[in-house]
């Protein structure tokens, strides 16, 4: 594969045309003003398939400035196909600086993780979202789920979590765990592990969510109260594999289980590759 070309002038800055960026920017401002509410937007076809982060890419393109330093992760890793291709896309179309270090990034586009390192004021985290509607698997009709959000009618979601407890003895939802934002909108935090849910609340960074196929944008401003849904007698628990990282030894990070041969050997490693490497170097 060819190295990304610098200053490819055939494209507008950050790929999208200015009309599209203005439309996305207006949606983003409303999303920030109504935390957790899904703002419809006229999602464009992107030069990558749905499911590869077309929503996140459009949000990033609308936010990116020439001075930004971009980091892209896929399940915590900087070096997987999705992350590499999106990073190259913006190097080529916006000529921005890129990094793998969470602390050095001003915009981080992420698929299904929140970095382990604490985010700071001024950073933007852009989530790629497959299904933005938390009630969609309980109620397939958009007309109905819109009404449910309007009326704050979220009983169905609690029934679903209750059925989890009745069947499994605990809430079995392990990712895309629903949250309530500032006591109003129930929101899908995208398929992040529920281990990451506590980081959604009172985070100093701005969090933006883009769903390309479903044409929705939503947001969590910094320092917003975000509560994971639970019951008094079954409180929310941020769970992870009961191991330490086999590379850096961290006991407080989210781990990937890696199969190492065909005889059942396995190891657990940090899902956040930058965090793991930083710990090894320290």
């Amino acid at each position: 594969m060819n190295a990304p070309q610098k200053n490819t002038t055939e494209y507008n800055f950050a790929y999208l045309d200015e009309d599209t960026k203005r439309m996305i920017r207006r949606a983003l401002l409303k999303a920030v003003a109504i935390p957790g509410y899904q703002v419809p937007f006229a999602s464009r076809e992107m030069p990558m398939p749905y499911g590869w982060g077309t929503g996140g890419v459009q949000v990033t393109a609308a936010c990116l400035t020439p001075d930004d330093v971009l980091k892209v992760i896929d399940q915590g890793a900087d070096d997987t196909t999705n992350a590499v291709s999106i990073r190259k896309f913006f190097q080529r179309t916006a000529d921005v600086d890129v990094t793998e270090r969470t602390a050095d990034a001003t915009i981080i586009q992420t698929r299904h993780r929140i970095p382990e390192a604490a985010l700071t004021e001024g950073q933007i985290l852009v989530f790629q979202v497959p299904i933005p509607e938390p009630l969609r698997f309980l109620e397939p009709r958009e007309t109905e789920t819109r009404k449910m959000h309007e009326l704050e009618e979220y009983g169905l979601m609690h029934v679903k979590l209750y059925e989890d407890i009745a069947k499994h003895g605990q809430i079995a939802t392990a990712y895309a765990y629903p949250v309530k934002v500032e006591g109003r909108y129930v929101m899908d935090p995208s398929p992040i592990p529920k281990f990451d849910n506590p980081k959604l609340s009172d985070n100093p960074a701005l969090m933006l969510f883009g769903a390309g196929r479903e044409q929705r944008i939503y947001a969590l401003p910094p320092h917003t109260k975000v509560a994971s849904l639970d019951f008094e007698d079954h409180p929310f628990e941020a769970s992870k594999a009961n191991h330490n990282c086999d590379i850096c030894g961290a006991g407080d990070t989210y781990l990937d289980e890696v199969i190492t041969d065909d005889r059942g050997s396995r190891m657990f490693v940090c899902s956040d590759t930058d965090h793991c490497r930083t710990r090894q170097e320290a």
């Binding site: 439309m23 109504i34 936010c63 400035t65 947001a219």
Partner: protein
């Protein structure tokens, strides 16, 4: 009329939008922008219009600012409408018919107007702001308290505000609770 627009629209509007986004995400913070030289409007109000308005948006312009009308039409293509249909409105606080702008619908609260309020000055003093985007509290020299306190009680409906003075801007989304300092 032909002067005073962005000279490098993709990059200048990107930088301007980040200031606007940051202002809306962190109510009370004051940001400096550049790139527009509109007649009758502040630089910041001109930058916001160039960044957010186009042929698909309807504007309401306060009558005392009518000298800016041709500039806005030439540089954005936006159409002008009654306050009830406006997506963006620009004016000094006492010229804005605040009660007439759309505050969104219960099923689509995003279909609400964004008001750009021209101010003589903008400082981090005055009414006390709390809510999403604000760590503890912030202060901003709002033109009054009561209207913004009432606006927040309509959540999730409501208006969202930018305040502009010279080349500086701040914002107040409907989520911010405003109290007299």
């Amino acid at each position: 009329m032909l002067e005073g627009g962005f000279t490098d629209q993709p990059r200048q509007s990107a930088t301007a939008f980040r200031a606007a986004l940051d202002a809306m995400a962190r109510p009370g913070t004051i940001h400096t922008v550049a790139g527009a030289q509109p007649p009758a409007l502040s630089i910041a109000a001109g930058v916001l219009l160039l960044t957010l308005a186009d042929r698909t948006t309807s504007l309401w312009l306060a009558p005392p600012l009518s000298a800016a009308r041709d500039w806005i039409t030439f540089h954005t293509g936006a159409t002008f409408s009654a306050p009830e249909d406006a997506q963006i409105a620009i004016g000094a606080w006492h010229d804005l018919p605040v009660a007439r702008f759309p505050i969104g619908r219960p099923d689509y609260p995003d279909r609400s107007a964004t008001l750009i309020v021209e101010m003589p000055d903008l400082t981090a003093t005055g009414p006390r702001l709390t809510g999403p985007g604000i760590k503890d509290h912030a202060n901003l020299s709002l033109p009054e308290t009561e209207a913004f306190r009432m606006n927040a009680t309509a959540f999730p409906l409501g208006l969202d505000f930018f305040f502009t003075a010279g080349d500086r801007l701040a914002a107040l989304p409907r989520t911010t609770k405003v109290e007299a300092a």
